[in-house]
Symmetry: C2
């Protein structure tokens, strides 16, 4: 007759685990000796080993009981279900590993590599770190909704950076936002002029950039809010753009031409 400690040691589990199996009715309580100690027969060791084998294989304790006294067909069926569940788990973890691998750099958090490349290009072009981080957060929002679409757009976005006016715009914006002096700034005007000019060109060449109708408006509103939160001067810029006939910030649209 074995004590609980011997039983546990033989099956390679802790005493606490054995008691737990008793509690949930997975392993029957044995008889007690005069002192109230549990005394186990050899058969209990066999039961316990079977339980551990299934538990180690990932079977939840709540199902092990049923499995152990199921007929072979039901057992096999249960095994199949467990196995496919394990497969899914492994798949999930492997996906996680891939994601983790993307996280080596701080920027990579929740962003596809194409976007990282775009952000790095901005840095090369002299865009300020603060500005790049703002951009990054915007792309995080977009990537959360349409990560695959975002990838498709990146080549176009990269190409835009070959236009000196775009680069100039980014630099002016960098200066504006890096300058803690909140006063009215002539650079705001220059930025607004550049944006209007670029928007005009894009509009003329028929670019239906990003948008299309499939996209609901929530993310664009969010992007605009994000920009304003990051720097309230964005609001002033939006105002200046409106004066020039354009509404919005991330998605600019031509206003009805009332102010002749």
């Amino acid at each position: 007759m074995l004590t609980i400690g011997q039983l546990a040691a033989y099956a390679g589990v802790t005493v606490r685990a054995v008691r737990h199996y008793h509690q949930i009715g997975l392993l029957p309580e044995p008889e007690r000796d005069a002192a109230g100690y549990r005394r186990y027969r050899a058969a209990a060791v066999v039961s316990l080993i079977k339980i551990r084998t299934l538990a180690d294989a990932g079977v939840p304790l709540s199902r092990i009981g049923q499995m152990l006294d199921a007929d072979p067909a039901a057992f096999a069926e249960a095994v199949r279900r467990i196995d496919s569940h394990l497969r899914d788990e492994i798949q999930r973890l492997e996906t996680s590993r891939e994601q983790i691998a993307q996280l080596a750099a701080g920027d990579a958090l929740a962003l596809p590599s194409e976007v990282i490349a775009y952000l790095d290009r901005l840095r090369e072009l002299g865009v300020s770190e603060r500005m790049v981080e703002g951009e990054r957060d915007g792309w995080i929002l977009l990537a959360a909704r349409w990560s695959d679409r975002v990838r498709e757009f990146m080549p176009g976005k990269l190409a835009q950076l070959d236009d000196p006016r775009v680069v100039r715009l980014y630099r002016v914006l960098s200066e504006i936002f890096d300058d803690d002096d909140a006063g009215d700034d002539s650079r705001l005007e220059e930025a607004a002029d550049l944006m209007a000019c670029l928007a005009e060109q894009a509009h003329a060449s028929g670019e239906i950039n990003l948008g299309e109708e499939a996209y609901d408006d929530l993310p664009h509103d969010l992007l605009d809010s994000l920009a304003v939160e990051a720097d309230p001067r964005v609001e002033r810029l939006v105002e200046l753009l409106r004066e020039r006939g354009w509404s919005g910030w991330n998605r600019m649209e031509r206003l009805a031409e009332r102010p002749g």
Copy 2:
């Protein structure tokens, strides 16, 4: 400004999860509106997405906070640790899958394939199901301690089944145990004779079967107990064996020859 439901939907999590992140201080509590509702800025969406990205990658919530405001070096180090942890997890699950794959048949529970083959051979030779199950449980005990050693012994055990006396022994034992009549049985004598004879031969040919000194005695005691538990007539058999100069059941040893 977003409500908690909108925030959650945008980041692809549940409202409950967001509140949980507030509780543990992972996501800062936003301001409330007049009704006491939480109102979120766009930046909260970005934070939440970052949190989920790390959480989905298997980072425990308790570490996500630290990671998010760690410097790049510490972040990279944390990522490495997470990754190696994930690798271990995957390894563990794959081992589980292999084990699960062994469980297709009822017998396979916690037994290497060599033992399964041995048990199947017993069935072919006409050994009763009850007897085979008894054998199986014994092997489960042995395999739990020395699964690799057990594999080594199986060829020898299989070879023993080529000896007609061994087969005869198993059949006689099958008959004995299958017969619910507990009365004193002449077949017990035959079984004892066979066992003594085989033990004699094994001893003479110098077989140090299984044993060697490395094995502690616990498992053999357990095996004997298991047999007695399965059928008390084993006790009578042990007695008969003792009369013939042998002690034990699974591991038989020659007695000092006192009874001339």
